[in-house]
């Protein structure tokens, strides 16, 4: 059992074995979103606000916040985005940047215990990011690549993840606060990407006993009807033991894939969430016994 506890000022979310899968909303990220990038750079954060609310409404338990815009003041933009999102939602955040100053700026304004996205196995990156994570008492996403690249050998990727977990411990960060990203490649360009990810996820859980996450949408890059592939991947990855993902909860297929997996893994106890989301709306408002019972309980 490994629990990674994240929090905002008002709410706690736990990523953990045998708990419902945690969906981390991916939308607040200007990479590949021309309009959002232009607006954020010009100081217009209305779309950030709308994206935050819509993703939480759709069931995201956490949100990833990224402000990686070329030729912009990323630390200032990220800090502002973090503050704004925390002012309108109470979900914990994943503060996402490859720039240390931006991570620092985001952490400085954050209320609660965030997830820092991310550290890699590159020595230089670990030496910069891990002290920052330790100082703020945050948790961190560990990406399983190092200076030599993204290995196609799952054993190498596992070894890199292990090294990051050990280095984190040297800095006083417990393994429970390291969430490993096994790096999911586009299946359309690499046919073994799925099986690689599943076997790595299983080992990370069973041998390293860490929680896992990934950028789920990456898997379906370049394919038609890609959300269905992402949804299928998520179900299978959860079956292999993955405990969270950075994903788009606004797309029906990935979200359904997660919810169904929660049912099948037994973490959606008594199928409560599934039934709530899928009950025939006509039945719910009908004049059957259920409606009457609920009426009685409300009055009681």
């Amino acid at each position: 059992m490994t629990d990674t506890v994240l929090s905002s000022a008002r709410r706690e979310v736990v990523i953990g074995f045998d708990r419902p899968f945690v969906m981390i909303g991916e939308r607040i990220n200007p990479t590949g979103r021309k309009l959002l990038a232009a607006e954020m750079k010009a100081g217009d954060f209305s779309r950030v606000e709308a994206d935050a609310l819509a993703q939480v409404e759709a069931g995201a338990q956490m949100l990833d916040v990224n402000a990686g815009i070329p030729l912009a003041d990323e630390p200032a933009l990220l800090a502002r985005a973090v503050q704004l999102v925390q002012s309108i939602t109470d979900v914990p955040l994943s503060i996402d940047s490859s720039i240390i100053e931006a991570l620092e700026a985001g952490l400085a304004v954050y209320h609660g215990k965030p997830l820092v996205n991310s550290v890699t196995g590159e020595s230089e990156v670990m030496e910069r990011v891990l002290p920052l994570v330790a100082r703020h008492g945050a948790a961190v996403v560990a990406i399983s690549n190092d200076e030599t690249g993204i290995s196609e050998d799952p054993d190498v990727r596992f070894a890199v993840a292990k090294r990051i977990v050990e280095r984190a411990a040297d800095h006083g960060i417990p393994a429970a606060d390291v969430v490993v990203d096994p790096l999911v490649m586009p299946i359309g360009a690499m046919g073994t990407a799925g099986r690689q990810a599943f076997s790595l996820i299983r080992r990370l859980r069973e041998e390293l006993k860490v929680n896992t996450t990934c950028g789920a949408s990456n898997v379906s890059f370049g394919l038609p009807n890609r959300h269905a592939i992402t949804g299928g991947f998520l179900s299978m990855a959860i079956g292999a033991g993955m405990t969270s993902a950075i994903m788009n909860p606004l797309h029906a297929e990935p979200k359904t894939g997660v919810m169904a997996a929660n049912v099948l893994m037994g973490t959606d106890r008594d199928c409560v969430a599934w039934i709530r989301a899928n009950r025939d709306p006509d039945a719910a408002v009908g004049e059957g016994a259920r409606g009457r019972r609920e009426g009685r309980r409300r009055r009681a």
């Binding site: 590949g32 070329p70 490859s98 200076e147 030599t148 359309g188």
Partner: protein, 235 residues
């Protein structure tokens, strides 16, 4: 598939064989492309004509349908692979005749960055379009780029980055080319998820390639434009 669809490529007249090769490229059939290429050569076609009429034209159609969302990444990779198989037959002959290649490209991911899926995709698509591609890998510093430029004398230098932290290194590479007065020798194309048009201009690249299909279109266009302007300068 039924038996009646089986036929012998060698029995087709030239024009139908070429059309069939376009279809086979579209379907990513490497063996059939090698066979068709050999048949045309046996019939006395020059290697550069086989390249232009059968292979490059076939890949042009593939490129259009990829751009328009009709074909998808795995299909295009198969097409590019089939094209490569045909090129392997043609390359020694092209070298003998001294025919000018469509273009040569040196491509690599910049220093500090180890991401290469997008870069590999672009390299494969360029090869598929008939370019000779020298992929120098990930984490390339200026010296590595300079050495590759010196060794291969390409038309195009392609720089890739996936991180906001590493993409400024593109400017370092281009600035160094300027300092050494080498910049005008090459078309410099940049690409990678966090980049945009404005960034490409700011670092002094000749083009920003949003995806692999655009990279191929831009590479073809810029090489052709450069050759026609240098031809015009000679006359």
């Amino acid at each position: 598939m039924t038996d009646e669809e089986d036929f012998d490529l060698a029995e087709l007249p030239d024009d139908e064989l070429v059309t069939q090769m376009h279809d086979d490229l579209y379907d990513g059939l490497a063996d059939e492309i090698v066979e068709g290429t050999s048949i045309l050569l046996d019939r006395g076609w020059a290697a550069d004509r086989v390249l232009a009429d059968a292979l490059v034209e076939g890949m042009r159609i593939v490129g259009i349908d990829f751009r328009d969302g009709i074909l998808f990444v795995p299909e295009v990779l198969l097409s590019a692979n089939a094209m490569k198989a045909g090129m392997a037959v043609l390359r020694p002959l092209l070298a003998e005749t001294g025919a000018e290649p469509i273009g040569k490209v040196v491509i690599g991911t910049v220093k500090g960055d180890i991401h290469d899926i997008g870069k590999n995709l672009v390299a494969m698509m360029l090869e598929g379009a008939g370019f000779e591609v020298f992929d120098i890998g990930i984490n390339c510093d200026v010296d590595k780029y300079l050495a590759a430029l010196e060794a291969h004398r390409p038309d195009i230098l392609g720089l890739s980055a996936l991180l906001t932290t590493t993409m400024p290194y593109m400017k370092t590479v281009i600035d160094t080319l300027n300092q050494k007065e080498l910049r005008s020798k090459y078309i410099v194309l940049v690409g990678g998820a966090p980049l945009n048009e404005e960034f490409g201009q700011a670092v002094g690249a000749d083009g920003y390639c949003r995806d692999a299909a655009i990279a191929v279109e831009m590479a073809k266009h810029l090489v052709a434009a450069r050759r026609s302007s240098s031809a015009a300068a000679i006359h």
